[in-house]
Amino acid sequence: MGKLFDRLNEDYRFREGLNACINCGTCTAICPAAEFYKYDPRIITDTVQSKNEEAIEELLKGDTIWYCGECMSCVTRCPRKNAPGLIIMALRSLSMDTGLFIHSEKGRQQYALTVALNNNILNYGYCVYPRTFKYKSHPEYGPVGKWIEENLEAVHKKVGSNLDGDGPGILRKIPDEDLKELKDIFDATGATKRMETIEMYSIERAKALGMSREEYLNHIFTTTLKEHHR
């Protein structure tokens, strides 16, 4: 596995995000996640700057690194120019690259996110695409959202979209040659490898639980068994 701190330090976000934490706790005071979850960005930052390999491995295996919302409120307020949000991004990447994400309930959710977002990008060229954003999975979309879904083409035509149409415009069809470029970028820069790593660990986990791929995806998308909240 190599020294985890050294691997973290290869990540540009880690180098930009970690200067010298003075443990003042300002990041925790401003953090929306710290109010909701049992989460403390000050402790995360202090742990990684300690270079304690065992403690870092615990972070990579645990739920806490997945509590951050990456709003970056901490970046504005840190008096020593640390960026706990960037440190979190480096920790999450290493957790996925090493397969340690599979040890935590929140980490395992990465499979559902990867399948949804990366397939939207590769298949349609958008992170969010209306034909895959379903009211059933998003009841907060409300009755209006249900009406939009049931009348998707007509609603978008009415408000001026170019849904799946040629040429520029709102929700146009991204040409195939551009989607191919995105796929080539994914292959060359590590996104495809990340997807394969997450898939491999997740399918193993699903098998161990006696679930099909679809049952496992639904399980991690909808269910939390552990108490994560304050």
């Binding site: 990540d11 540009y12 976000r13 996640a33 109010e35 909701f36 951050c68 919302g69 990456e70 709003c71 970056m72 409120s73 970046v75 504005t76 960026a83 991004m89 999450r92 990447s93 959710q109 990465q110 559902a112 996110l113 977002l117 990366n118 939207n120 990008i121 958008y126 992170c127 969010v128 695409y129 954003f133 999975s137 998003h138 907060e140 409300g142 209006v144 959202g145 007509a154 609603v155 009415k158 408000v159 001026g160 040629d166 415009g169 709102i170 146009r172 991204i174 551009d178 989607l179 970028i185 292959d187 060359a188 820069t189 590590g190 996104a191 990340r194 997807m195 991690i220 998308f221 939390t224």
Partner: protein
């Protein structure tokens, strides 16, 4: 509150914004949920103000939502962004304007990282060449679309049909603004008014006749949190943060909310509906919600566009209470007419 003191500090966070000749890129979330806002933005700049804003069908997502959900590596998102810059370069533009705050924050972060680590920029240029045979110049100017509307706010005001004023009392409407975390929390100098004294939306509201409400949780996140909304099991995080903002703004009795981020208007709109369903609680007058708008929608209303042309039938929280306060004419029967 010492308004003069705040205005002095705000003035230190101004930035020069070019008016014309932009390469325009769209927002994934806004195209889904507030599509007419992008339509109106281009209509205002191109047709009303005769400015040059170019769009190509070959641009794609910047990958920002996936990046901040940690499903793609930094080098992947940087190469996708480099490809967008290459499209700008090929089209002959130097000013780049993003419709999305997540994109704007990401572009700002990437340009800053390349500045500090030029070897990484070289690596990304290699990736881009190997995968697409494209090359790029970095933008000379990077704007968010709200920066452009802020710059043009007085020209829009000069064509206004309505003001953000209560037609019965003659008082300015009380407006809550929400600029979105990634507009300026990471790089305060890149946003009008910075992160602490946000002025990009405030400037619009003042120019169009309204009055901004300063409330304790003005700068608090809307609650998107990427994975904290996108995974159903995590949505308690999202609604709890939105709830905190509404509880904080409620005593000030705002008439409306204006936003410039893609996700924020969705969450501030939809979670109001959910809070009403869960707790029976509403934050506006007469058991209604507080209407939530994009800045283009507000510009469209003051310019006299029909609310349904502006896509306001796609909101869950009804906008009619605000339309009635201003005295905007609309046809109730046509709201859901297709």
């Amino acid at each position: 509150m010492n308004i003069n003191g705040k205005k002095k500090i705000w003035s230190e966070y101004q930035k020069e914004i070019p008016e014309d000749h932009y390469f325009y890129v769209r927002s994934c979330i806004r195209q889904n949920f507030f599509p007419a806002s992008e339509k109106l933005f281009l209509e205002i700049v191109r047709e009303r103000l005769s400015l040059d804003f170019f769009e190509t069908e070959h641009h794609t997502t910047c990958g920002g939502i996936a990046y901040h959900s940690d499903t793609i590596p930094q080098e992947t998102v940087m190469t996708i962004v480099a490809r967008q810059f290459a499209l700008m370069t090929e089209a002959g533009y130097k000013n780049y304007v993003a419709s999305c705050i997540t994109s704007f924050g990401l572009y700002t972060e990437i340009l800053d990282t390349w500045h500090h680590f030029p070897e990484l920029e070289s690596k990304i240029r290699d990736y881009l060449w190997k995968t697409t045979k494209r090359e790029f110049q970095k933008p000379e100017y990077l704007a968010h679309a709200s920066d452009v509307v802020y710059k043009l706010r007085n020209k829009i005001a000069s064509q206004a049909k309505y003001k953000l004023v209560n037609k019965d009392t003659g008082e300015p409407l009380k407006v809550v603004e929400h600029i979105g975390c990634h507009y300026s929390k990471m790089f305060p100098s890149k946003g009008v008014g910075g992160a602490e004294y946000p002025y990009v939306l405030t400037g619009m509201i003042e120019a169009w006749g309204g009055e901004i409400v300063d409330y304790p949780e003005r700068r608090h996140c809307c609650g998107f949190g990427f994975r904290q909304y996108l995974v159903q099991a995590n949505r308690g995080y999202s609604i709890s943060n939105t709830h905190k903002k509404f509880e904080s703004m409620a005593p000030f009795k705002p008439d409306m909310i204006i936003t410039n981020c893609p996700g924020c208007p969705y969450f501030l709109d939809r979670w109001q509906y959910v809070i009403k369903e869960m707790e029976g609680k509403t934050y506006g007058e007469n058991g209604e919600g507080i209407p939530v708008f994009t800045y283009e929608e507000v510009a469209g209303l003051v310019l006299g566009y029909d609310p349904w042309y502006l896509g306001m039938q796609m909101h869950q929280t009804a906008v009619e209470p605000l339309l009635d306060k201003i005295g905007i004419k609309y046809n109730k029967e046509e709201k859901y007419l297709l």
